[in-house]
């Protein structure tokens, strides 16, 4: 029923291709950092919709609350105070969470069949029932997003409200955002919306304003409008050119078929050894000698 807009295009640890004839509308969430006031309504709406309640933490002396993403906090506001020009303090507030990469490192690294899926609309979803809790997706993620739960040893992250999107609604965080810093729609429309925002920001003196849609991970389905797109790292360490770790690429790319072949050869050699040499039989007198001692 509701899966019509959630056709699966790729599935973790699965060699057979997913059905790929139908193409659904590519969606995206655009986060306009220049409009965000850091009210955290998105954090609350996320927990409310997804039936999560994180533990009540302690004050760390900063506005970040909770201090980091957790298995129950799938999105957090990250506050940075930056002084690019002397005497001109800027308070940059970035909504952190899954970027829904077009080329997801988590999905590539995952060894559990079907625990991570990518829908043809661009959403990357974790299916915790199939998760084995190995945490490889955390290594595979260039944005350090997935979090392993201590309660059930499963990994959780933002789903881009796939359950809402599947019935034609926007994610909970987007709907609640009072300033309109979050918008959701087709990826094409979001890029156009971002371009209009960038023109506006440039007219206000932000000459390096730009869209953050990193090509290193094939583009993302959660994009940022940055006032200073030339240095994304000032937004609490947003990577400038995110890439899937070389180790993951090697291990799941070149080495995987070689390892599989090796495994096949071992089985084959064992079989041939059995046929040509036969089983290793223990002679009766060897047994007797042991008893004799």
């Amino acid at each position: 029923m509701a899966l019509q807009s959630l056709d699966i295009t790729s599935r973790s640890a699965t060699t057979t291709p997913s059905p790929g004839v139908r193409q659904t509308q590519k969606v995206a969430k655009l986060i306009d950092i220049s409009k965000c006031i850091g009210c955290k309504a998105c954090q609350v709406a996320c927990m409310e919709w997804n039936d999560l309640r994180d533990e009540i933490g302690t004050n760390h002396g900063v506005y970040d609350n909770p201090l980091d993403l957790t298995d129950k906090s799938w999105t957090v506001m990250r506050f940075s105070e930056v002084e690019l020009e002397k005497g001109k303090l800027e308070w940059l507030i970035r909504k952190d969470g899954c970027m829904h990469c077009a080329d997801p490192g988590c999905l590539k690294a995952c060894p559990a069949p079907g625990a991570i899926v990518q829908y043809s609309n661009g959403i990357v979803d974790f299916h915790e029932e199939h998760c084995i809790g190995c945490g490889y997706c955390i290594t595979g993620c260039p944005f350090n997003i997935p979090r392993l739960s201590k309660k059930d040893d499963k990994v959780y992250k933002c789903t881009l409200c796939s359950d809402r999107v599947s019935v034609g609604m926007e994610p909970a965080c987007v709907k609640t955002c009072p300033t309109g810093a979050l918008v959701f729609g087709s990826k094409e429309d979001m890029i156009q919306h971002a371009e209009e925002r960038i023109v506006d920001l440039k007219s206000r003196g932000y000459n390096n304003a730009g869209l953050y849609d990193p090509p290193g991970v094939g583009g993302t389905h959660v994009m940022y409008v940055l006032q200073h797109a030339d240095q994304p790292q000032i937004y609490n360490g947003l990577p400038k050119d995110p890439q899937i770790s070389l180790l993951v690429e090697l291990w799941k790319g070149v080495l995987k078929p070689i390892m599989s072949l090796g495994l096949g050869l071992v089985a084959l050699t064992g079989f041939f050894h059995y046929v040509t040499v036969g089983p290793n039989e223990v002679k009766e007198d060897a047994n007797e000698n042991q008893h004799g001692r």
């Binding site: 699966i8 609350v44 409310e48 069949p113 625990a115 309109g180 599989s260 096949g264």
Partner: protein
Amino acid sequence: MLSRRQFLQFSAVSAAGLSTSSLGILGFSATQVLAEVRQYKLERTTETRNTCPYCSVGCGLLMYSLGDKAKNAPAEIIHIEGDPDHPVNRGTLCPKGAGLLDFVHSPNRLKYPEYRAPGSDKFVRISWDDFIAKNADGTTVNRWLSTGFLAASASSNESGYLTHKVVRSLGILAFDNQARV
């Protein structure tokens, strides 16, 4: 009996099979069906419109409750979000409004009348009949009703707390503060 050729063919096919499904031998079954998304939880819930009462902005709310209003299924609110058709907020909600579900289900909510006797330091639960009787004969009226107090919206948390303590200890009921000003 297998001929040599058949045997080699069989071996090659098994090796290829093993290498493509190496996960199969490690105990992961490839028979699992496609991942199933979390189903949309408001499918057949009852939608009720309301207005958020927690500040003077007055945002429109949509409250979703279990049960389809059938006689034998009492409703229970499971989700609250903004009303897109409301001209004030057009679907958006502030962090307080976005968390209203937990106000509704708060364990601290007053659900029955309580009475604190003069000189006592704790409230005791009383019946609705007792409550109405006490109100009717005026025994609980110990309030300064002729005066109200309006406090500024720019107060800090600390001065807001102190204002509240002073005003309430004087017995003033009509007291308003912060965003409602």
